[in-house]
């Protein structure tokens, strides 16, 4: 058997809590085995900032601001397979609870109405990415190839999914275990 080249994997977290990334790390010793077949590109795990052409991109978190849109598009443009990972990427998740309110209401609640604020005002530093009116699922912005539900998806789910991709099989997500929480 010839040795297949390693698959390049990139990950990112948009409007998420990094819980999906933590769950990824819960693969524990299986990570060592995976690393025989996978190498990381841009990811919070590597701290690589520049995204190269990749085989797989894992997106955690929903789309809440303009920067998320740019990052997501960069991943879409550079990843052969783009995966929505976890509840927030798939339907906005907990951050989407803010969709019940207008942006103004949310920001005033946090930055104006909060007691004991010094200089209460809505943050407007140009460095800050502009917020979208709502938090959106990632597939409403770019095409997504696979969805891994769960909050977070379990380490087993990640392992099964990546193993199937490594073996060149069509991933059978949800056939063994499916959870949204």
């Amino acid at each position: 058997m010839t040795h297949k080249p390693k698959l390049k994997l990139a990950t990112t977290s948009l409007a998420g809590c990094f819980g999906c990334h933590m769950s990824f790390l819960d693969m524990d010793e299986r990570l060592i085995e995976l690393l025989e077949h996978i190498e990381f590109d841009r990811s919070p795990f590597t701290d690589i900032k520049q995204l190269d052409h990749c085989d797989i991109g894992l997106i955690e978190g929903g789309v809440c601001n303009a920067e998320n849109v740019h990052v997501l598009r960069t991943y879409r443009a550079n990843c052969r397979i783009l995966v929505a990972v976890g509840a927030c990427a798939i339907n906005g998740g907990v951050p989407a609870l803010r969709n019940h309110f207008s942006l103004k209401e949310c920001l005033e609640e946090a930055y104006v109405k909060t007691p004991d604020m010094i200089n209460p005002h809505i943050p407007d530093d140009p460095e800050l990415p502009l917020l979208l009116n709502k938090v959106y699922p990632v597939h409403e912005v770019v095409k997504i190839d696979y969805f891994l539900p769960g909050c977070p998806p379990s380490a087993d789910t990640f392992y099964r999914f990546l193993s199937e991709l490594i073996e060149g099989k069509e991933p059978q997500i949800g056939k063994v275990e499916l959870r949204y929480d």
Binding site: N65, A66, V69, R73, R76, A77, S102, L103, K104, L107, I122, P123, D124, P126, L128, L130, L131, L132, N133, K134, Y136, E140, V141, V142, K143
Partner: protein, 582 residues
């Protein structure tokens, strides 16, 4: 039951008086009628002509139909009037003088752009009239001081056939009925092979027979005068000119099935016809053609009440109509059981279209052979068509069944047609290759709507208007129609504004098929017809609007940043997003 005590009528009076129906009124009405407050609240919420916040003293509803709508004349008259009067569409002006919104087809498709002002149709609206209207409203002139010609609804009949040529005096049908007897009359109706003119085409004789045979404490006859299919207005003319024959048809049906009570369910948009219909009923009572001892026959007893709807297309569906008669939201029932066995108040009920009942009167008088001599073997008799859109003479045409679309187009002066919508938005969208087809239940069926679109029209705009109509009129009962009609509208919105990608077309196809196959009633089954027809016959209408991208965001990205731009006062290049991605 007296019509004045009907919940819809009480709510209408409150709406007229206070320009809205308050929570307090809802509770009072519920107590007055011994109804649950939730039922009254649900009815107020269901019907478009009831409002929970005050409308203006002048409340204007523009039709949004493709034929009598505010864009039918080229200019957007809705926007024009709202600008003139500085009123936001859908919001009452601060001084409560005026409110402007749109409504589904008001059945004035042979009168150009039309509207309802405080419930009364105002026809042939153009930019000049808008100017004058604005002045009259600002001057607070009462409607009875407005030019009366503006409110003149004319019946444009361009072709008469079997029914419209046939003369009949009040009582002719009833006397023939008595001569033939109950069974003889029913046999005549069955032999005429008369089929429902509302569009579904169920055998009228069989319907009467099934109802007659159904056991019940009482039987009922209901005339479906809820002519809501956009592009249809032939019942408007029939109610105006042939109300006698209609009442007579209901009486004949009542005699056959053993009913003592009938109802005319009149769409709210036709409320202006109510005095005329009430006068007809009074007159018939005076002549001994309605009430007790009809034609002097002891025991022959039947009367008719009129119930007026309040803006809900779904109430044209017979079981939804019955729910509405029962003072509830117009949610279609599960069938079976069908109304012929379990209809109004759970009793056997015949629901027939206006045109069907009038045809029955003529058949009772002239016999079935007179009727079957015209039409095709499977579609006997004639059909009244409401023809509108791009033709020289919009109006009513009566044709024998079997007439080709081409012949109709020639006779109404439509020499540049690219498409015809037969049967309204719920019907069939046909391109030129289908113009040889026939109007008949076995070929192209129709309840009467026949809308013509010439080469200048954008077919996608029309399909989008139809999709908007169905999303607005879906009753909300079942998942596929409630959610699906909204998704279809949104899918078309996206393509219309030039942000659609190829996969959006596939998605439209898929959702359309779901809505058509899995919905609860006829509204859902037909709501996607024009989209499916459009994708099949006019794919270029969709394709030419697509972006070059394979996939585009489902929402308007840049618009989604608008609120943040305002809050942070940033408006540079980095504060904007492109919709597509290369």
């Amino acid at each position: 039951m007296s019509e004045h005590l009907h919940l819809l009528h009480i709510l209408h009076e409150l709406q007229q008086k206070h320009r809205y129906i308050s929570e307090a009124s809802i509770c009072e009405v519920a107590a007055q009628l011994s109804l649950p407050v939730s039922q009254v609240r649900a009815v107020v919420a269901f019907y478009a002509f009831f409002y929970s916040t005050p409308c203006g003293h002048y409340h204007i509803l523009f039709s949004n139909c493709t034929s009598c709508g505010y864009r039918a004349g080229g200019t957007d008259l809705l926007r024009l009037l709202s600008q003139k009067l500085s009123v936001n569409i859908g919001q009452t002006r601060k001084d409560e003088q005026v409110s402007i919104d749109e409504t589904s087809c008001i059945g004035m498709c042979d009168h150009g752009p039309s509207l309802l002002i405080n419930g009364v149709p105002l026809v042939h609206v153009d930019a000049e009239k808008i100017e004058q209207m604005a002045a009259l409203i600002e001057a607070d002139k009462p409607l009875n001081e407005w030019p009366s010609a503006w409110f003149h609804v004319k019946d444009h009949i361009y072709k008469r056939g079997l029914l419209l040529d046939s003369s009949l005096s009040a009582g002719d049908g009833l006397r023939a009925m008595l001569t033939r007897g109950r069974e003889g009359t029913l046999t005549e109706i069955i032999q005429s092979k008369l089929r429902g003119r509302g569009g579904a085409g169920f055998s009228t004789g069989l319907k009467w027979r099934l109802c007659q045979q159904a056991a019940g404490e009482a039987h009922y006859v209901v005339c479906n005068a809820d002519e809501g299919e956009p592009g249809t207005f032939k019942d408007r003319m029939l109610l105006q000119q042939h109300a006698d024959a209609l009442c007579e048809g209901m009486t004949i049906c009542a005699y056959v099935i053993g009913a003592y009570q009938g109802f005319i369910y009149l769409r709210g948009e036709y409320r202006y016809l109510l005095p005329h219909l009430q006068a007809t009923l009074m007159h018939r009572r005076k002549l001994g053609l309605l009430g007790t001892a009809i034609l002097g026959q002891t025991g022959l007893e039947f009367d008719i009440d009129i119930v007026v709807g309040a803006g809900a297309y779904i109430c044209g569906e017979e079981s939804a109509l019955i729910e509405s008669l029962e003072e509830k939201p117009g949610i279609p029932r599960s069938r079976p059981p069908f109304p012929v066995t379990h209809g109004y108040l759970g009793q056997p009920t015949v629901v027939n279209n206006v045109e069907t009942l009038i045809a029955a009167t003529h058949i009772a008088y002239k016999g079935s052979a007179w009727f079957t001599a015209v039409g095709t073997p499977a579609s006997t008799g004639s059909k009244l068509l409401s023809i509108s859109g791009d033709c020289a003479a919009a109006g009513i045409y009566e044709y024998p069944f079997g007439v080709t679309i081409q012949q109709i187009l020639e006779e109404c002066g439509a020499d540049n047609a690219q498409a015809v919508q037969v049967g309204g938005p719920a019907g069939t969208l046909l391109d030129q290759t289908a113009f040889h087809r026939q109007i008949a239940f076995e070929d192209v069926g129709t309840g009467g709507s026949f809308m013509i679109f010439n080469q200048e029209r954008d077919i996608l705009t029309i399909i989008h208007q139809f999709a908007t109509f169905f999303a607005h009129e879906s009753c909300g009962f079942c998942t596929p129609c409630r959610v699906g009609t909204i998704l279809l509208k949104q899918g078309l919105d996206k393509i219309m504004i030039g942000q659609g990608a190829r996969n959006d077309m596939a998605e439209l196809q898929r959702v359309s098929e779901l809505v058509r196959r899995y919905s609860h009633c006829g509204l859902g089954h037909t709501a996607a017809n024009s989209i499916l027809d459009g994708l099949q016959h006019f794919p270029q209408a969709f394709e030419q609007q697509l972006t070059q991208y394979d996939y585009t965001a489902r929402f308007e990205l840049n618009a989604a940043l608008q609120e943040a731009r305002q809050l942070t006062r940033h408006d540079g290049k980095e504060a904007h997003l492109e919709q597509g991605q290369d």
